[in-house]
Subunit: 129 residues, 2 copies
Amino acid sequence: MARDPAARPGPRQIDFLADCRARLGFDLLANTWSSVTLWALRDGPLRHGQLKESLGGIRTKVLTETLRRLEFNGLLRREERAGPTRVDYELTDLGRSLLGPIEAVGVWSQQYGDEVLAAQDRAETRAAG
Amino acid sequence: MARDPAARPGPRQIDFLADCRARLGFDLLANTWSSVTLWALRDGPLRHGQLKESLGGIRTKVLTETLRRLEFNGLLRREERAGPTRVDYELTDLGRSLLGPIEAVGVWSQQYGDEVLAAQDRAETRAAG
DNA sequence: CAGAATCCTTTACGATACTG
DNA sequence: CAGTATCGTAAAGGATTCTG
């Protein structure tokens, strides 16, 4: 989504529904690995292999796709350093500016994650019982 | 993702990579309509038709799926009110607690959305030219 | 090491038609 | 009004193999 050039111009506060621009960030993060990948790079550049290790179960192909997409959107930079087969990925300023919102979701998850799981259990019990 | 019962127990600060629980929120929001749907309900209950109108191009089926998923995860509540074929959807406390992080992403989008679009243009120009 | 290539499965999303 | 049913497409993700 997030396409509507003729969106209403006057946002009083934040109106996601009148200003599709406000949905752009969600589109950027609306897949399994984007947020975590950005987060993994918060302390500095990492290489493909290091990222793969940090991110757990991610597959080579999926990691490459994720990195390409994040690069396309200006959130990180791919840099071939000296030495053979040595490639670093690092956040751009734009990517770094997203760490705050990402952290907000992460903090929420840690605070309320148990409640979500409990709700899921309740829903499943209700459906099964 | 976000499944790993044997995750390391000692999170110093916020370590998404050592604590998969912290990724739960991203999983909840990792689709096109979840965030916007929750946001649309911030001012109070809405009915199916009202939501559909608010959310723009969403299809009946997709809206129903989105609502079911959000309900399953305890973020909103489906309530059949008095009167025939009258159903309200309203945020739970848990769902309401997610409005903050959602807003953080929305604010970021409004601040930096243009930069993302510019980066996309640059990437496309570089690829085409 | 950093990936590209290939194949497969699942899921999301969209479009249309129909119903209690 | 609030869906359900069905069909189709596309994208995401996973698994495996191969390469400069």
